[in-house]
Subunit: 517 residues, 2 copies
């Protein structure tokens, strides 16, 4: 049965879901409950299905509160008459319950769920039930393949008329790990196509997109990306600005708050983004160790084998490498500091040897994968491209094509003007650099929102430190945040040192663990 | 770090959750994301933890939208300054993830989760993840016991200074099943204590609380319930009006929309409500068959054994009966129609023999369980109490004590003045009465909100029907709803008939299945 109600626009987004608020008398008349659904139409036009909230006072009887996603979708204005009809739960809810019972889903059933998520037909709690179920009832390989294809089909795809198309991905955040910004120009300079989309930081001080944004705009449309890549062979853009693998963004909104990371969804999410840009050859970096997503060699082995299996079913050639995930890669942490470090490496300066070396090795593997370099000589070829200045030239081309300054140099990049050096209070050897603490301090200093904020490390793991030696510098864009980051650095011990004596009894007591700097 | 923001009250309840809306600039400054959390205080008073929504326009920078549950909890008014501090997810989120991984939870861990749900510390999606997990990873018996105790402790309890305290429960909705309204007066008339709390209809045309409300108020406070029971030995009140087993209400809000019914939670939910009223002897009715929650004998056996096991660990004596769940119990469906039928039975009229008989048998078992009647003679004793008029007298006492008319008779109860009789179009024998269709028609007619709406069945399963015989009457409180219910009755075939010929070929085709009336 249909009801007619007057729209009250609620200027509050519901994260891609369509949500309405009914007065409790109307809800009773319509025989609907909290979180039931209605179909909503305006002037007989497009229909959407919305989830119901019920309130005694927020909307008057005869009115219907409509949240932003729904007012946008139907172009609803205050006071307009809407036709409201109670409807059943979408069919995909029964499919989620089927998987809950342990019955594998077919490709079309998985697609049904993803399409409903895309159309805003599933509420947050239904999507949560789906993801929770996948954390317990693993997706089998057929289901994972189906999920990947559904995610690819949920958004647009890039279609370059070139082969091969090269890509890379790092499965897990390590501070300072800006290899993409070095690998892309090397690969593009070698004449290969590498349309790289990256993410912004979620819990880290900088994502590749945040750092690249210091050099050039990263919010490009699909059309602009295609133009940049056709012109320069590569790009370094923010994946969130384009509609590639769109379902993944919807899933991440639910995965993030609960930290729900079902492996099948992780695999599908990563490879769907590669498939959506048309990648034919992909190198995946799996950081392993304390503080990383992958803790042990056997977990890493299994993940690598699943990436390669799924990739081959998708028609992509995939290689995986396991790398140390316990230390920062490079000395610079924070968007501008990392961008400057990348430019310094491209300009041939002797900084962050680990970031430089890791980038060369990975670029080398990519050159080998597509047959551009014989096995075993990829790194040498990559090093030659870097050493010749071709990679720097290519980076400037890409920066220019994306709308940045094509003459950019490391020295042009401005870093936070508030800074403080931190010195060793005792001598010792650095035996552990705590990624979590380093990230927390950089974020307290303002990264990633304040581009110039972050940390520059002057020492590396294993270094023998003298008392009073400069350990690191914290940069910020305001004095308040600098103070905050400094306090955090004193509380969190980002650099842990071995000392001869850990504790001394019988004298005035000192710190009980070897965690001072 | 603390921030000070100006409150903007949002008059919208978030279902017992504390929810705030931040402007996206403030969120960025505070380094918080959608669904992260803040601690909220006003004037250094009580602190609550709230889940964050982020909006560009709904609240201005420097302001914070606060949903109703939170404004109520802290007595927040528009424009007041609030202290807002980002905090981590509650510890119970990690416990939910532990169970997700298949690790059993200890009693204190389960209590931690329930306490956080009660305090509004867990978001809907976190509670969903918990319930989804319990659908897949069953609670073991220790966990179920712990959950029951936590639910009991989440609310108030009734403490009668009498023993035994008798209770009954029906695990699954069957239309017309108003046994409680007959059993309670019989048991109370026998001098036993029976403080019965019931639910309202969720998806059925009437719950016991809806029907009882036709006779007397059912929204009583704990104090009023205690007075009524001390005076009359029994009561028939709405459980939702009191704070017994409070956590159950919060769980049901999430269980209902997704139909998440993990068995451990079902057991805990039912027995927590019995424990909270101090029950020592409980009879549980498990309806079984097509359309019921329990479909097979072995499922019913298992459920019964788990009820008895859990009951004995809680110090309650429990008996279970399996009853047919496929047909309506009684002829009247709808709050007033059912209340009238109950009063007719109590007054000794010969109506709804199945409802009368089921109530007598169940009252008899309760009398036997507490040793009031020897095994095998409970029904006789119950029948004597009913036949003597003592049960009717007791019902009027209870009605009066709850605030209704202590002289109430069946003929005083007003039924919807719009009605239509439905007649058989063909002869045949009724082989199936479709509970789902009967419920749908009664709800279309306006039940449970319109008390006088519903269906009265004039025939029973197995009856031989002549063409033109009156089958049932639909009652409504408005002509519009009557028409709607009538249309539904024509579409849904509530009474299915066997016919001699199911289909006849070669003549003008008739309905192909034996589903007409």
């Amino acid at each position: 049965m249909n009801y007619e109600l007057k729209a009250k626009c609620v200027d509050l987004a519901a994260g891609g879901k369509f949500v309405v608020v009914l007065n409790n008398s109307d809800a009773q008349a319509m025989d609907v409950k909290h979180l039931d659904r209605v179909r909503l139409t305006k002037d007989g036009g497009k229909a959407i299905s919305a989830v119901i909230n019920i309130s005694e006072h927020y909307v008057k009887q005869g009115n219907i509160g409509v949240f932003k996603d729904a007012t946008d979708a139907l172009k609803i204005k205050n006071g307009q008459r809407l036709v409201v009809e109670p409807i059943d739960k979408p069919f995909s809810v029964s499919l989620i319950k089927k998987k809950m019972e342990g019955i594998p889903l077919s490709a079309s059933e998985i697609d049904n769920i993803i399409v409903d998520i895309m159309n805003g037909n599933l509420s947050d709690i239904e999507t949560t039930a789906f993801l929770t179920t996948l954390c317990i009832r693993d997706l089998n390989r057929d289901e994972t393949l189906a999920l990947t294809n559904s995610i690819v089909n949920s958004g647009t795809t890039l279609n370059f008329k070139r082969r091969p198309i090269v890509d890379k991905h790092c499965a897990g955040g390590v501070p300072g790990n800006r290899t993409s910004m070095i690998i892309v120009p090397i690969i593009a300079a070698a004449g290969l196509t590498i349309p790289k989309t990256s993410s912004r930081a979620i819990t880290s001080p900088a994502g590749t997109a945040d750092s690249m944004e210091v050099l050039a705009p990263v919010c490009l449309s699909e059309k602009e990306i295609t133009e940049v890549v056709n012109k320069t062979n590569g790009c370094l853009v923010w994946g969130g600005a384009v509609n590639l693998a769109a379902a993944d963004d919807k899933l991440i909104k639910i995965r993030h708050p609960l930290d729900l990371d079902p492996k099948g969804v992780l695999l599908a999410s990563i490879l769907a983004k590669k498939k959506a840009v048309g990648a034919t050859h992909v190198l995946i970096d799996i950081p392993m160790g304390k503080g990383s997503k992958v803790q042990t060699k056997s977990e890493a082995d299994e993940l690598a084998s699943e990436f390669m299996d799924l990739g081959s079913r998708l028609g992509m050639e995939i290689e995986c490498i396991i790398t140390p995930g316990y230390d920062p890669v490079g000395s610079a942490i924070g968007p501008a500091l990392e961008a400057r470090e990348v430019m310094r490496i491209l300009q041939g300066e002797k900084v962050s040897s680990e970031l430089r070396e890791k980038s060369l090795v990975m670029a080398g593997i990519l050159l080998e994968m597509v047959g551009r370099a014989p096995r075993g000589s990829g790194r040498t070829m990559a090093n030659k491209i870097l050493g010749s200045g071709d990679a720097l030239k290519k980076m400037r081309e890409i920066v220019g094509a994306q709308g940045g300054d094509p003459k950019i140099s490391a020295s042009d990049i401005s870093i936070g003007s508030y800074f403080i050096d931190v010195f060793a209070k005792e001598e010792g050897r650095i035996h552990f650099m705590n990624n979590k603490s380093i990230s927390a301090i950089a974020r307290a200093a303002g990264a990633p929102a304040d581009k110039g904020a972050g940390i520059y490390l002057h020492v590396d793991k294993g270094d023998k430190i003298k008392k009073g030696q400069k350990l690191f510098t914290i940069y910020a864009e305001s004095e308040r945040k600098l103070t905050l980051a400094q306090e955090m650095a004193e509380a969190f011990y980002p650099l842990e040192m071995d000392r001869i004596i850990l504790k001394e009894y019988g004298v005035e007591e000192k710190s009980s663990m070897g965690t001072e700097y």
